[in-house]
C-alpha cells in the first residue's frame, strides 16, 4: 500500500504522540543555554565552545576529574628536563582524524604553533608560557621548548585551546574552519552547526585513545549527539522532565530540587567546582579607592543568605577569590576572610570618614556614597539587586546599570563605573591569579586596575617555579595580598551539577573549564 502524503503525516503524528521513541536510543540530546561564536580551538574562549571542542578533538594530555592529575591522551608519555625548560612528548602512533587520515607529531606541532602564532590572535596565548619553539622531531616525538619555566604548562595543555586539528582541512576551509566544518581526532565528529540552535555530532568509529583514567577509552557509546540551545531557563528544566532532552549541565538553580524529586532524573554534582562569581572594584575610582570602604562592602553583604534565597542552596557562598579545593589554595587565608558583619562594616565606614547623613546615606566631604555597578541582565541582575539591598542597610546606595552581554564586554574595559560583575572558570589558584592580577593585564582582564610590582614579581616566581612548594608559596603570598586589599567581593562558588535521564548509565561529572561532560566517552544508554 502506497502511503499518500496525508496518510504518511497521519502515521507520523500518531507515532510522534509517543514522545519517547525507542528507535532513537542511540541519539543523545544535550540541552544548553548559549552558543559559542564558532569552534576554532585557540580562538574560542567561551565555555560553550570548549564543551564541544573537547568532544570533537583531543589535547596532548588530559585532566582527570580530580582536577589535579594529568593523564596521557595523545601523548602516551612525556619527559621534563631538569631545568624545566624542555618537555619531550611521545605521541601515539595509532591516532586518526575524523576523515580517516593518520595523525602524526607534525600535526601536533603545527596545531600548537598555530596557537601561539600572533597572526592567529588567540586571546589565551599567554597560557602557553614563554615559548621558544615547538618542533616534531619525528613522527612520534614533539619537543616543546620554553625560555622560562612554566609551572602549569601541562594543565594548560589539557585545555581545549591546545586541541590538535588537521592542517589540510584548516587550509581548505580557511575562515570557515569551526564554522562550516571541522576535522579533529575526538570521540565525535562534526556533522552540522546551526548557530544559536544546535550542533550535531556523530560517533568517530575508529576512536580508541581516550584519556587513561576513563573506563571506556573509546569508541563513544552513542551514535549521535545533538547539543540543543534552549535560551529559556525554565524550559531547560522542563525539557529534562518531559524527556525532550537527555542531559543538561545548564539547569537553573531553582530546578534542581524538582529534578531530584523526579523518578526519571538523576542529578550529579562535582565537588571540584572551580567557577567563581564575584563583583570586582575599580580601585582607581574615588568612591571605592579606600580599602576600608571595600572591606566594609564585603562585610555588609550576606553571601550565605543569597546562596539560600537567590540560589536555592545550590551554591557555596564565597568569601575567597578561588575555591578552597583549588590547587595551591592556602588555608591560612581562611582567618582573614571577610564574612557577614554589618556592624563592623558600619564601623569601618565611620572610620574611613563616611558618615551617615540625614537621609541615611553615607557622606564624606559633600559627596554621597553612590557607587555604580554594571551588570549583565538576568541572574546577575538579581544578584546585584540583592547586594544593593544589603548595602542600603549600611547607608551605601549602589546604582545598577544592567546591559546585554556584548555591550557589557565593551563597557567593562572602560573606567566608567565603580564595580562590575564577573564569573570565571579556573583550574588552579595560579591560573586565576595570573589571569587577573598581572599589571600587564590592565584594563582587561585586570579590570580592577590592580598594579603592584611585588605581585608581578611573585606571579613570575610562581609561574616559573620548578617545584610545587615554591609555586604554592609564591601564589599564597599573592592571594594574601589581594585578599587584604579587598579588590573583589566574592559572591559564590558554583558546583558543577548535571541533570540526566535515568535512561543513561551513571557517570562522573568533570569540571575542566565548566565542560561537565568532557569527552562524552562515559555517556551511554542503559538498555
Amino acid at each position: 500500500m502506497t502511503l499518500t502524503p496525508l496518510k504518511r503525516t497521519g502515521f507520523g503524528v500518531a507515532a510522534a504522540f509517543a514522545l519517547a521513541l525507542p528507535a532513537a536510543a542511540q541519539e543523545l540530546t544535550i540541552i544548553r543555554a548559549q552558543d559559542s561564536n564558532h569552534y576554532d580551538p585557540p580562538r574560542t574562549t567561551a565555555q560553550s565552545g570548549a564543551e564541544i571542542i573537547f568532544m570533537m578533538s583531543d589535547t596532548i594530555v588530559g585532566l582527570a576529574e580530580d582536577m589535579k592529575t594529568i593523564e596521557p591522551l595523545l601523548a602516551s608519555s612525556w619527559d621534563v628536563s631538569d631545568d624545566a625548560l624542555t618537555y619531550t612528548f611521545k605521541i601515539r602512533d595509532d591516532v586518526s582524524f575524523c576523515d580517516g587520515k593518520a595523525m602524526t607529531a607534525e600535526d601536533v606541532a603545527w596545531s600548537l604553533n598555530r596557537w601561539q602564532d600572533p597572526e592567529t590572535k588567540s586571546p589565551v596565548r599567554w597560557r602557553m608560557g614563554d615559548v621558544k619553539s615547538i618542533t616534531a622531531l619525528d613522527a612520534t616525538t614533539v619537543v616543546y621548548e620554553l625560555n622560562a619555566p612554566h609551572s602549569e604548562l601541562l594543565y594548560q595543555l589539557a585545555q581545549s585551546f591546545g586541541s590538535i586539528i588537521d592542517k589540510d582541512t584548516f587550509e581548505a576551509l580557511g575562515k570557515d574552519f569551526g564554522v562550516t566544518g571541522f576535522n579533529g581526532t575526538g570521540p565525535f565528529c562534526w556533522e552540522s552547526w546551526t548557530p544559536r540552535d544546535k550542533v550535531v555530532l556523530t560517533r568517530h568509529e575508529a576512536y580508541n585513545w581516550g584519556p587513561a583514567n576513563y573506563e571506556n577509552a573509546g569508541p563513544a557509546q552513542v551514535e549521535k549527539v545533538t547539543w540543543q540551545i534552549v535560551p529559556e531557563a525554565a524550559t531547560r528544566t522542563v525539557a529534562l522532565l518531559t524527556g525532550q532532552g537527555d542531559i543538561s549541565p545548564y539547569v537553573p538553580f531553582i530546578g534542581y530540587s524538582t529534578l531530584r524529586a523526579s523518578p526519571n532524573i538523576k542529578v550529579i554534582k562535582s565537588e571540584n567546582a572551580f567557577w567563581t562569581n564575584y563583583m570586582g572594584f575599580k580601585i582607581t575610582k574615588d568612591l571605592v579607592g579606600d580599602v576600608k570602604v571595600r572591606q566594609a562592602i564585603n562585610l555588609a553583604v550576606n553571601q550565605e543568605a543569597m546562596a539560600e534565597d537567590l540560589f536555592f542552596g545550590e551554591v557555596e557562598p564565597a568569601y575567597s577569590y578561588v575555591s578552597s579545593g583549588a590547587l595551591d589554595y592556602d588555608t591560612s587565608l581562611d582567618d582573614s576572610l571577610l564574612k557577614y558583619d554589618p556592624e563592623r562594616a558600619a564601623a569601618l565606614l565611620d572610620e574611613a570618614g563616611w558618615i551617615l547623613n540625614s537621609d541615611g546615606k553615607r557622606e564624606k566631604d559633600g559627596k554621597v556614597m553612590e557607587p555604580l555597578t554594571i551588570t549583565f541582565t538576568g541572574e546577575w541582575q538579581q544578584t546585584s539587586e540583592a547586594v544593593q539591598a544589603d548595602l542600603l542597610k549600611v547607608g551605601i546606595e549602589l546604582q545598577i546599570e544592567p546591559m546585554d552581554s556584548t555591550v557589557y564586554w565593551g563597557k567593562s574595559a572602560t573606567d566608567e563605573f565603580e564595580m562590575y560583575v564577573m564569573g570565571y572558570p579556573y583550574i588552579s589558584a595560579g591560573d586565576a591569579l595570573n589571569l587577573y592580577f598581572r599589571s600587564a593585564n590592565i584594563p582587561t582582564p585586570n579590570r580592577m586596575n590592580w598594579s603592584d610590582p611585588e605581585t608581578d614579581e611573585l606571579l613570575v616566581t610562581g609561574s616559573q617555579a620548578t617545584n610545587e612548594t615554591d609555586r604554592a608559596a609564591a601564589y599564597a603570598k599573592v592571594m594574601q595580598k589581594v585578599h587584604d586589599s579587598a579588590v573583589w567581593l566574592p559572591i559564590y562558588h558554583r558546583p558543577m551539577q548535571i541533570g540526566y535521564s535515568t535512561k543513561l548509565a551513571p557517570f562522573v561529572a568533570h569540571n575542566i573549564y565548566g565542560a561537565g561532560l568532557y569527552k562524552g566517552l562515559q555517556l551511554a544508554f542503559t538498555e
Partner: protein, 312 residues
C-alpha cells in the same frame, strides 16, 4: 493593472534605499563592541585591538559605508562578525523556519477569523455575534508572551502532547510538524481577533449594498447571496488588513521564536542587534524590509484582482 504594479515597484526602490541607509546608520551607533565579544572576557587589550583591526572596525565610518554599499550592490552580505558564518547562509537557514511559523499561524487563523466574522455578521446582534466580538477583543488584548507561555505550560508540560523546544525538522516531517504546532497556534491567536472584526464589518457593509439586495430580490438563498456576492467584496479590506498585520505578526514572531527556541529570523535579528553583529543585523533588516515590500505588493495585486473597479 500591470502599470499599477510597475508603478508600485518603482516607488519601492527609494523606500528600499531608505531602509538600507537606515539599517546602516542604526547599527553604526550601537555601543556594543564585537571585537570584545569575539576576544572573550579573558583577553588582554592588545589582542582585542588586533581583532578589531582584523574586523575593519577601526576604519572611518564613510569608508565602512562605501564598502557596505559596494557589497550590497553585488549581493554580498558579508560574514557574521561573531561566527564568521556567511550572512547569506545564516539568513537562508533562518528564513524557512520563520516562514513556516508565519504561514502556519495564518493558515489556520485567517480562515477561522473570516468564518467567525462572517458568522457574526450574519447573526448580527445575537448572543453569538456578541460572544464572537468579545472573544476578538480579548484575543487582541492578550500579551503574546502570555499566550505562548500558557500553551507550553498546558499543552507541553502538563499534558505533554506537543514538544516545544527548537525545530527538529521541516514541517513535512513528523517531528517538525509536531514542533511547529504550539508556536503556530500561539502566534495565530493574535491574528484571529482583528481578522474577525474586519470581516464582520465589511460583510455588514456589503450586505447593505445594491447588488446584494438585487440578488436577494431575485430569490437567491441567503447563503448564496453571502458567498457569491457578498464575501468577495467583503474580503478586500480583509486582504489589506492582513498585509498590514504581517509586520505585527513578525514582531510577535520574535517573542514566539524566543520562547520556543525556534531558529527563525526574529530570533536571529534580536541576537544580532544585541550582540553588535553588524553584518547579520544589516542583513536581517534588509530581509524584513524586502519581505514587507513584497507583501504590500502582493496585497496590492490581490486588491486589484478582487476589486473590479481598480482593474482597467
Amino acid at each position: 493593472m500591470i502599470s499599477a504594479v510597475l508603478h508600485r515597484l518603482a516607488l519601492s526602490v527609494p523606500v528600499l534605499l531608505g531602509v538600507l541607509l537606515f539599517g546602516f546608520l542604526l547599527v553604526q551607533i550601537v555601543p556594543g563592541d564585537p571585537a570584545m565579544v569575539v576576544a572573550g572576557p579573558t583577553a588582554t587589550a592588545d589582542v582585542v585591538a588586533a581583532i578589531r583591526e582584523e574586523m575593519g572596525l577601526d576604519r572611518p565610518v564613510l569608508v565602512q559605508f562605501w564598502s557596505y554599499l559596494q557589497r550590497m550592490a553585488v549581493g554580498d552580505l558579508g560574514r557574521s562578525m561573531i561566527s564568521n558564518k556567511s550572512v547569506t547562509a545564516e539568513l537562508g537557514a533562518a528564513i524557512w523556519p520563520t516562514l513556516e511559523l508565519m504561514v502556519g499561524a495564518m493558515i489556520w487563523s485567517v480562515p477561522v477569523g473570516v468564518a467567525m466574522g462572517t458568522l457574526a455578521a450574519v447573526v448580527r446582534g445575537s448572543f453569538i455575534d456578541r460572544s464572537i466580538m468579545a472573544m476578538s477583543v480579548a484575543g487582541v488584548s492578550l500579551p503574546i508572551f502570555f499566550i505562548s507561555l500558557m500553551a507550553i505550560q498546558f499543552l507541553g508540560v502538563k499534558w505533554q502532547i506537543f514538544p516545544f523546544i527548537g525545530r527538529p525538522g521541516p514541517w513535512y516531517t513528523a517531528e517538525g510538524f509536531m514542533a511547529l504546532f504550539l508556536p503556530a497556534l500561539s502566534l495565530g491567536l493574535i491574528l484571529i481577533g482583528p481578522v474577525a472584526r474586519m470581516t464582520r464589518s465589511s460583510v455588514l457593509e456589503v450586505l447593505k449594498l445594491d447588488h446584494v439586495r438585487t440578488a436577494r430580490a431575485k430569490g437567491l438563498s441567503e447563503t448564496r447571496v453571502i458567498l457569491a456576492h457578498g464575501l468577495r467584496n467583503a474580503l478586500i479590506p480583509v486582504v489589506t488588513l492582513i498585509g498590514l498585520q504581517v509586520g505585527y505578526l513578525l514582531g510577535g514572531a520574535v517573542v514566539t521564536e524566543t520562547i520556543f527556541s525556534w531558529p527563525g529570523l526574529g530570533r536571529l535579528a534580536v541576537g544580532a542587534i544585541m550582540s553588535s553583529d553588524f553584518t547579520v543585523a544589516q542583513g536581517t533588516i534588509m530581509i524584513f524590509a524586502l519581505g514587507f515590500i513584497t507583501v504590500n505588493l502582493v496585497v496590492d495585486i490581490l486588491y486589484s484582482l478582487l476589486d473590479p473597479r481598480v482593474r482597467k
